[in-house]
């Protein structure tokens, strides 16, 4: 019996559990995969219980996500949501009948006037889908037939920190897992030498001092830290502590790991603690990452025409364009969730000048990424999302002049777009009123977007739960509706 018992403790528990109908939820492969499948032992402790999985709940359309998060709140009125009415009535006050008591941030609540303003930029229609795009996005305008615009996004938060946290975790307050962690928890990893949830950061040129980010945005919250997002940075140590110390060769490291494993195995024989096996396998994974990460970061094997497609910035590591290219490389390696953040969209003043630089940062890289995925056949099952935490007001913050204006945060309506992953291409969902202020058709709440995203992965957002502190938690909290109108048939 001892032998048998040990066998079950040490071998491929996940397989057993799955067959026994326990589901793989609590035992799912982590963001940092554990190839021996001993992961179960890492999650002891009663607070870590499985959801009513196994997943998926139904056939998935998508396998991977690239989320191009535009931090700061891009102005939908200057990019995608064309409102000629605002140009026509430029300078007149926003009527109370439209504002309807919407709460304002502390930055404009003291203004005596709220003069509306259209965009200084021209809008045109593009593609077969006749989507409106402003001159700020010349490259994106060429790929509109791949995109699904949602012009009726709305959120509950009016300031950056809670609003970004809400988008990424489903709650305005810190402490919940981010989407990528949820997906790692629920769906596991697709590969065994890279984390399944990877984060890339870039700083925008639009604003002199962009809003900062914070690591809890890719935190695992109450889920196991196996599911935390791993930040890949530009430079010689893309993952913290990845490089061997100077002068330590691969050979040497291998030698040490071999002896280490043998010493640890001896420990395991003494204590019968399955933790030790998972430790041994973690060292092997770490060793593999030392090869796999630099490999995926090294773009020297990319042909010139590809780099040109992403634009000149793609040659500079750490830029948005370079990160888009990197995102594609990671997706090719079957990383589940690549989360980009690009800061700098917070144009309270001097918007016309700032947003031009900001849009230049992202326009070409975004378009290139979509086309690149498409030409490799990856767009089909990769969902790309582009959007920020809220939109911007139709009225001017500060002084409105002939050539200048600013816009405050606007939670009540804004635009994002998606591509691939079984989302309807060349489509536009939802409408705002002539003022670009209120949604008049097909609203999409943040939880709706999250529910729809999970749905594309075969996950019922009401069923992917995690029980802690006596309560069942979901990404979508207690709401969220799958918006089937945007799904490709």
């Amino acid at each position: 019996m001892e032998e048998l018992n040990k066998y079950f403790l040490n071998n491929n528990r996940r397989h057993f559990l799955k067959n026994l109908g326990f589901g793989i939820g609590g035992l799912a492969l982590g963001s940092l995969v554990d190839p021996f499948g001993t992961g179960v032992s890492l999650q002891n402790g009663p607070q870590l219980q499985a959801g009513p999985l196994p997943l998926p709940h139904f056939a998935p359309k998508a396998k991977r996500v690239i989320y191009l998060f535009q931090s700061g709140g891009p102005s939908q009125l200057d990019l995608f949501d064309y409102k000629p009415y605002l140009n026509q009535y430029r300078g007149t006050d926003l009527p109370d009948s439209i504002r309807k008591g919407q709460r304002l941030t502390g930055m404009t609540s003291g203004q005596d006037r709220f003069p509306v303003t259209g965009s200084i930029y021209n809008f045109k229609q593009y593609g077969e889908s006749r989507a409106w795009v402003s001159d700020l996005m010349p490259h994106v305008s060429k790929v509109v037939d791949e995109l699904c615009f949602v012009k009726s996004m709305h959120t509950e938060a009016i300031n950056h920190d809670p609003a970004i946290t809400f988008f990424q975790t489903g709650s305005q307050l810190p402490g919940r897992p981010s989407i990528g962690s949820w997906m790692s928890y629920g769906l596991g990893s697709l590969n065994d030498n890279l984390p399944s949830f990877i984060v890339l950061l870039s700083t925008g040129n639009g604003k002199p001092q962009p809003q900062p980010l914070y690591s809890r945005l890719w935190g695992n919250g109450f889920l196991s830290s196996l599911h935390q997002g791993v930040q890949f940075r530009s430079g010689k140590d893309p993952v913290l502590y990845l490089q061997n110390p100077e002068g330590v060769s691969k050979n040497e490291r291998r030698k040490m790991l071999d002896h280490l494993a043998s010493l640890n195995e001896a420990q395991e024989k003494t204590f019968g603690d399955p933790e030790i096996n998972s430790r041994i396998s973690n060292y092997e994974m770490a060793y593999r990452m030392q090869t796999s990460v630099p490999e995926v970061m090294d773009i020297s094997d990319e042909p010139d025409h590809i780099l040109r497609m992403y634009g000149k910035n793609s040659y500079t590591p750490g830029t948005y364009a370079a990160n888009c290219l990197l995102a594609r490389r990671l997706i090719e390696k079957d990383v589940r969730f690549v989360q980009l953040y690009h800061t700098g969209w917070d144009q309270h003043d001097n918007l016309p000048a700032q947003i031009k630089r900001q849009a230049e940062d992202v326009d070409q890289g975004t378009a290139a990424l979509i086309m690149d995925l498409k030409q490799r056949g990856l767009l089909e099952d990769t969902l790309v999302i582009w959007g920020g935490e809220f939109g911007r007001t139709n009225y001017c913050q500060g002084r409105l002049t002939d050539t200048d204006y600013g816009r405050d945060h606007h939670p009540r309506s804004f635009t994002i777009f998606m591509a691939g992953g079984g989302i309807k291409p060349g489509f536009s969902y939802g409408e705002t009123d002539d003022f670009g202020y209120n949604i008049v058709k097909d609203p999409m709440h943040v939880h709706d977007l999250q529910a729809t995203l999970l749905h594309q992965f075969g996950v019922d957002h009401e069923k992917m739960i995690y029980k802690t502190q006596g309560r069942r938690f979901r990404l979508t909290d207690v709401s969220g509706e799958v918006k089937r109108d945007i799904l490709a048939s």
Binding site: N5, Y7, G45, P46, I158, Q209, M256
Partner: protein, 774 residues
């Protein structure tokens, strides 16, 4: 085990499944049924006790699967029927007047049974759309309970603890103190036997980490090994409890509960100065301030008669929450969050209640109303504080500390010469500042007309009319000897600190959804004793570490693994991973790099460059834009003192499961990831330690390589390696020496020796045993 016959495979899987499935920990003392000892009985019978306990067997099921719609929250109650209180149970069935919802001792007359057995979607409970499913075992437990009379009893944790004498067991010489009698009795019922005492080296290391957070030195180990006197162990226990490292160890746990950090936390994340409060915590533990005072000062020190500066400083506890600077926020929205944070933290850390669940609506599982929540909330709502602070601003209310004040009244604050003064946030009551109203759905902009005047939930303990309705009254309620929660929660946290898991495995939830105690009588005995002894923390810790239970070996035998694979019944000492702080501090101490200096401003040890730059806003004058590493030994201080910037916390800490400090945490995660391996392999701090320890040993009088290996191994793991490991390490030393020789021709033999021993030390730093408390 190379080949496994299909039958064996099935049987083993079956046993394993049963073990997992058994509703842990579902049995009170005296109602135990071995989980899987006899092998293969019918699965449905296995985890159902002979006598079903409402509190321990039935209510956890009802709570988890039924209360959402038939529980305490009146806005969510369906069919006007509640299962959490007995008054609705015996109602006549509307479907069939011959039946009741629950008919004691009669299944066929109980509608509840029809409902849980129904297969009609419209009739079945829980309804299919709830996504909640009752297992066959759960249904049988409910039925057995009805058969046995369906009796009601108050939630176990809301009954005041009663001190029962422990029952006897037959394990000879295994009664060092009452803890062992309780634990032994439980073991005996399970068919388990206690383990032998741990080898002295392992025991000493365990004790050192538990009481001081640091490893023993080689000479301390030797002294203990040589001391054959009866009280050798006890002498060490006393010595460690008297050392100042004890306070630091205890404080490092308290920092998680208190969500301590050196920055404000939201987006711009500027600096704050709460370290004098942290120094107070260390001081309070070291002078063994009784727990009731320790907590009362932190919650309400400012309200004590003639409050001293020390008592006021202690209230910094509830100002450690995050504070925003983000331009444009609506201040009241954030002010409300701060009050809510204090409310949740207080309930979680001292009462084991998930009070925050009652912020938006009455609690779904526990008998806590939204009014209860706001009554507690009102205690923390009378501060003159702002929702948003400016850059460089320290939030009011605050006290100013300077050298003079420290010299006169706060001598425990480790004040460096270099700083003029520091403002520390504290609590300050302004009577009649504002009334508290229940907020609809907990939202700052939706006050109702219902006023919350302060008080505590009556079903736990009546809030005595003599208590003032403020934070001081709250502490009087908490430390009323009749309070059923405070002492239980406190001793459970101490237990968790030593044994890795509390007697109640959910230390912050003693409610209906929380885990049940594995040793309920022991928990109560400890709780009452703690109160009787005047909330003496050191004495309680000493009692726990002096127990035979604590001193057991951590090496399980086959029977133990089979009967109790998760070791809930403590027949071996539970092997545990060291905390983030301990792992790094062990590296520093063993290598001689460690600088042992108590208190003072937080310090900045090595971290990879650029992390703050990546995540910090461009706001000019932000002193936290760039991380500047400390010098003059401050980079080698205990990890307790590592600077905590909330938006970019130290990666070496959070990777090893330190809490984020964004909110109160009573229990850390326990994970094992490749990122942890990378740190231990490649962190320059570990590299430096490996070099340092190699030099130390090579420069010492120890001459033989074997002895040198042993010496390094002892410094790092506290143990002399066995023959086999030693020869494995000697092999490695040879191999790696050859590699060094090959790689760089012309190295002196001294250089090669130095490099080889450095490599060896690094290997030992990466051993599993190094990071474990065995």
């Amino acid at each position: 085990m190379k080949k496994l016959s299909p039958l064996l495979f099935f049987l083993g899987a079956f046993v394993f499944a049963l073990v997992l499935r058994s509703i842990y920990p579902s049995q009170p003392d005296g109602e135990l049924q071995p989980i899987a000892s006899s092998g293969l009985t019918e699965s449905s019978n296995v985890s159902i006790p002979e006598v079903v306990s409402y509190n321990f067997d039935v209510k956890p099921i009802l709570s988890d699967k039924c209360y959402t719609c038939h529980g305490p929250d009146p806005n969510a109650v369906e069919a006007n029927f509640r299962l959490d209180v007995s008054r609705d149970w015996y109602r006549v069935s509307q479907e069939n007047p011959q039946k009741q919802i629950i008919f004691p001792k009669n299944l066929s007359k109980s509608e509840l049974v029809d409902r849980i057995r129904s297969t009609r979607a419209s009739h079945q409970m829980p309804p299919p759309e709830s996504n909640l499913i009752l297992s066959e075992t759960e249904k049988q437990i409910i039925e057995k309970w009805i058969e046995q009379g369906a009796e009601w009893s108050t939630h176990w944790a809301y009954n005041s603890p009663i001190k029962n004498n422990p029952s006897d067991h037959d394990f000879d010489h295994w009664n060092l103190n009452p803890i062992d009698q309780f634990v032994g009795a439980q073991m005996a019922k399970k068919g388990l036997k206690p383990s032998a005492r741990a080898p002295k080296e392992l025991l000493l290391r365990r004790l050192y980490f538990d009481l001081t957070g640091l490893p023993p030195s080689v000479s301390e180990i030797d002294r203990f090994l040589k001391d054959k006197s009866e009280d050798a162990y006890e002498k060490v226990v006393d010595q460690l409890l008297q050392s100042s490292s004890y306070g630091e160890r205890m404080a490092s746990i308290w920092m998680d509960i208190a969500r301590y950090a050196d920055t404000n936390g939201y987006q711009d994340d500027t600096e704050r100065f709460m370290w004098p409060w942290r120094d107070w915590v260390i001081h309070a533990y070291n002078k063994n301030l009784p727990y009731d005072e320790f907590v009362s000062w932190q919650l309400a020190g400012d309200l004590l008669p003639d409050a001293t500066k020390e008592q006021i400083l202690a209230t910094g506890f509830n100002r450690n929450h995050m504070i925003t600077q983000e331009g444009g926020v609506i201040e009241e929205e954030y002010r409300v969050e701060y009050v809510a944070d204090r409310t949740a933290t207080t309930a979680k850390s001292f009462m084991g209640l998930t009070m925050e669940c009652a912020r938006c609506h009455d609690h779904k599982y526990d008998e806590l109303t939204q009014k209860d929540y706001f009554n507690l909330y009102s205690f923390f709502n009378r501060l003159e504080e702002k929702g948003r602070i400016g850059y460089q601003e320290v939030a009011e209310p605050k006290i100013k500390l300077n050298q003079e004040l420290v010299n006169n009244e706060l001598r425990f604050v480790q004040w460096p010469d270099s700083i003029p003064d520091v403002e520390v946030m504290v609590m300050k009551e302004v009577e009649d500042l504002r009334n508290t109203y229940v907020l609809n759905r907990g939202a700052y902009d939706a006050p109702t007309a219902i006023e919350a005047e302060g008080g505590m939930p009556e079903n736990i303990l009546k809030f005595d009319a003599r208590y003032p309705k403020n934070r001081l009254g709250l502490t009087q309620w908490l430390f009323d000897p009749q309070n059923p929660l405070t002492a239980r929660v406190a001793v459970n946290n101490l237990w968790q600190q030593l044994f890795g898991m509390g007697i109640v495995a959910t230390p912050s939830d003693f409610g209906n959804q929380g885990a049940l105690p594995t040793h309920p009588k022991l928990l109560d005995w400890l709780a009452v004793t703690f109160m009787e002894e005047g909330w003496d923390t050191k004495k309680m810790i000493k009692r726990m570490v002096m127990s035979a239970t604590y001193q057991q070996s951590s090496k399980p035998n086959a029977l133990q693994l089979e009967i109790d694979p998760k070791n809930h019944y403590l027949s071996v000492f539970p092997r545990q991973k060291l905390t983030a702080e301990m792992i790094r501090d062990n590296v520093l101490v063993s290598s001689g790099l460690f600088v042992d200096k108590i208190g003072g401003p937080s310090v900045k040890p090595y971290q990879p460059p650029g992390l703050w730059d990546d995540l910090t806003g461009g706001s000019t004058s932000n002193s936290l834009k760039r991380y500047i590493m400390s010098s003059s030994g401050n980079q080698y201080r205990r990890s307790l003192y590592t600077y905590w910037k909330r938006t970019a916390p130290p990666p070496g800490m959070v990777t090893f499961d330190a809490s984020t400090r964004d909110y109160c945490t009573v229990e850390r995660q326990k994970t094992s990831t490749p990122l942890q391996s990378l740190i231990l392999l490649n962190d320059p701090q570990v590299q430096m330690a490996a070099q340092s320890i190699a030099s130390l040993i090579l420069d010492s009088e120890i001459e033989k390589d074997k002895d040198r290996v042993v010496a390094i191994h002892r410094r790092i793991t506290g143990r002399i390696p066995n023959k086999k490991s030693l020869s494995e390490m000697m092999d490695y030393l040879d191999n790696i020496g050859d590699l060094h020789k090959e790689k760089e021709k012309g190295l002196s033999s001294e250089d090669i020796e130095k490099r080889s021993f450095t490599s060896l030390a690094l290997l030992i730093y990466n051993l599993d045993e190094t990071s474990q408390k065995s």
